[in-house]
Amino acid sequence: MQGLIDTFFNIAVMAQYLPKVLEGMVITVLLAIAVVLTGLALGFVLAVVRSAGLRVVNVLIVLFADVFRAVPPLVILITIYFALPTVGLRFTGFESAWIGLSLVLAAFAEEVIWAGILSVPRGQWEAARSSGLGFAQAMRLVILPQALRLTIAPLTSRAIVITKNTALASVVAVGEILYQAQAAYSFSYNPSPLTLGAIAYLVLFIPLVWLGRWVETRFAWKR
C-alpha cells in the first residue's frame, strides 16, 4: 500500500513538479481556446458558403469535411509539424497543433451547421426572399437564428472532444499538461507527475463536461 502511494501519489515529487504542470495547464487552456474559436469560425464560414450552392466550391468543402473527419487528428498534427517543413512550410509545435485541431473541429462544425441550415423549412427562405430580402440578409436574419439554435448542443460536445485532443500536442513538443507530466516523469523516474496531469485534466474538463450536459438539456430540440 505504501509502495502504491510512493509510486503514484508521491507528495514530494508532485510538489516539485506542480509548477511545471500548472504551466502546462495554461498552455492547454490557451491552445483549447484558440482551437475552439478558429475551428468554429471556419466551420461556420464554410457552412454558410456551402449554402450558396456553388457546385465546384461545394465539392471542395465536402472533400475538406470528409478528409478531416476521416483522418485521425494525431496523423494530421504529425503531418503539419514533421512533413510540411520538407516543402518549406515551417510551423512551431503550438502552431501545428492549433492549425491541425482547428481544421478537424472546422470539418465537424461545418457538417453540424450545414445540417442545421438544411433543417430550416424551405418556406422560411421563400417568405424571406419574397419580401425582397437578399440571400445574405435572409441567411443572417431568418435562417441562421433558427439553424444555430439546433446546433448549439452538438457543437458544444464537438468542442469538448477537440479540447481534450490538445493532449496530442505533446507529440509535437508543445509544453501542455501531458508533455510536462511526461517530462517530469522521465526526470524523476516516478509516475506521480502523470497522476498530477490526470488531476489537471479533470479540473479543467469536468466543468466543461457539466457545461455540455447543461447546454444539451437547455437547447435540445426546443423551438
Binding site: A127, S130, S131, G132, R149
Partner: protein, 251 residues
C-alpha cells in the same frame, strides 16, 4: 369595383411554361391582371395553379415565356429581383411566419432591412399593419402562441406592410381549421374593398362567387376558362368545370 376594361395590366403572363424534369406542369399560360382586380385561380390538384402563382415573383423559375410587371419584363437579364419582389406581396398556405420573431418583428423585418426604415418607424408601421387584420394587440406574441387563422393574418399583415402593388395568395385557407377560415376571408374582403390587386389560388368557391372579379379555371397546366364568376359558376359553364366545382363543394 369592376376595373375599367382596357386598363393597362399590372401583371401580365405571356406563354408561360414550367417543366420539372420531364413533366411539364404549366403549358403555355397567358393571363393579365389589371389594377384593383381580384383574380381567382381554381382547378384540380396538380393543375399547375400554385406553380403558376409562384412563378409570378420567380420563386419558381419559368422554363419559357414572359412575365411583365409594372411595364417591366422581370425575366430579363439584369432585373433587380429584390426590388421587384418588394412590390409583390406573397401569402403562403403554411403561413411561413418566422418562429423566432414575434408578430410585430415578423412584419417589421422587411421594413427595416428592405425599405431601410428606422426601427421605431418600422415597429409603428408593423403594429398599424397588424391592426388592419384585427391583431393590433398581439404584436408581442410569438407565432406558436397564435391560432392558425391569426398566424395567417399576421402573414397577410407582413405582406401588406411593404405596400405592394399586388398580393399573391397561395391557398391561404387550406391549412386552417374550418372555423378559422372566415377570419382570413374577411381580411381578403376588406382588401378588395380597399382596392388591392390580388391573385388568389384557392378552393373557397363560395368566396370566389361573391368576391372575385374574374375566375380562371386551370387543368393540366393550361387555362380552360377565364371569365366573371357568373359565367364560370353558371349553369352554362363547360361540363368539366361544373363537375370540378361540385366535387369541391360536396367534399
Amino acid at each position: 369595383m369592376k376595373p375599367p376594361s382596357g386598363a393597362q395590366p399590372l401583371l401580365e403572363l405571356r406563354g408561360l411554361r414550367k417543366s420539372f424534369g420531364a413533366s411539364e406542369v404549366v403549358r403555355g399560360v397567358d393571363l393579365a391582371v389589371v389594377p384593383r382586380e381580384l383574380v381567382f385561380v381554381i382547378g384540380p390538384s396538380g393543375s399547375g395553379k400554385s406553380t403558376l402563382l409562384r412563378m409570378c415573383n420567380r420563386l419558381e423559375e419559368p422554363s419559357a415565356g414572359e412575365i411583365w410587371f409594372e411595364g417591366q419584363n422581370i425575366l430579363a437579364p439584369g432585373t433587380d429581383l429584390n426590388a421587384v419582389r418588394r412590390r409583390i406581396g406573397m401569402v403562403f398556405q403554411s403561413f411561413n411566419l418566422y418562429p423566432h420573431l414575434n408578430a410585430r418583428d415578423n412584419v417589421a423585418l422587411a421594413l427595416i432591412h428592405v425599405l431601410k426604415q428606422p426601427r421605431e418607424e418600422a415597429h409603428a408601421r408593423a403594429v398599424e399593419s397588424l391592426r388592419k387584420v384585427g391583431l393590433g394587440d398581439r404584436g408581442e406574441a410569438k407565432p406558436a402562441e397564435l391560432s392558425g387563422g391569426q398566424q395567417q393574418r399576421v402573414a397577410i399583415a407582413r405582406a401588406l406592410a411593404l405596400e405592394p402593388a399586388i398580393v399573391l395568395f397561395d391557398e391561404p385557407t387550406s391549412a386552417l381549421d374550418p372555423e378559422l377560415v372566415g377570419s382570413v376571408l374577411a381580411v381578403l374582403r376588406e382588401l378588395r374593398s380597399a382596392g388591392m390587386t390580388m391573385m388568389v389560388v384557392s378552393h373557397e368557391m363560395g368566396f370566389a362567387r361573391g368576391a372575385a372579379d374574374r375566375v380562371v379555371f386551370m387543368e393540366s397546366g393550361r387555362i380552360l376558362a377565364d371569365g366573371p364568376p357568373e359565367t364560370i359558376f353558371g349553369a352554362g359553364a363547360p361540363q368539366r368545370i361544373r363537375e370540378f366545382v361540385a366535387s369541391v363543394e360536396h367534399r
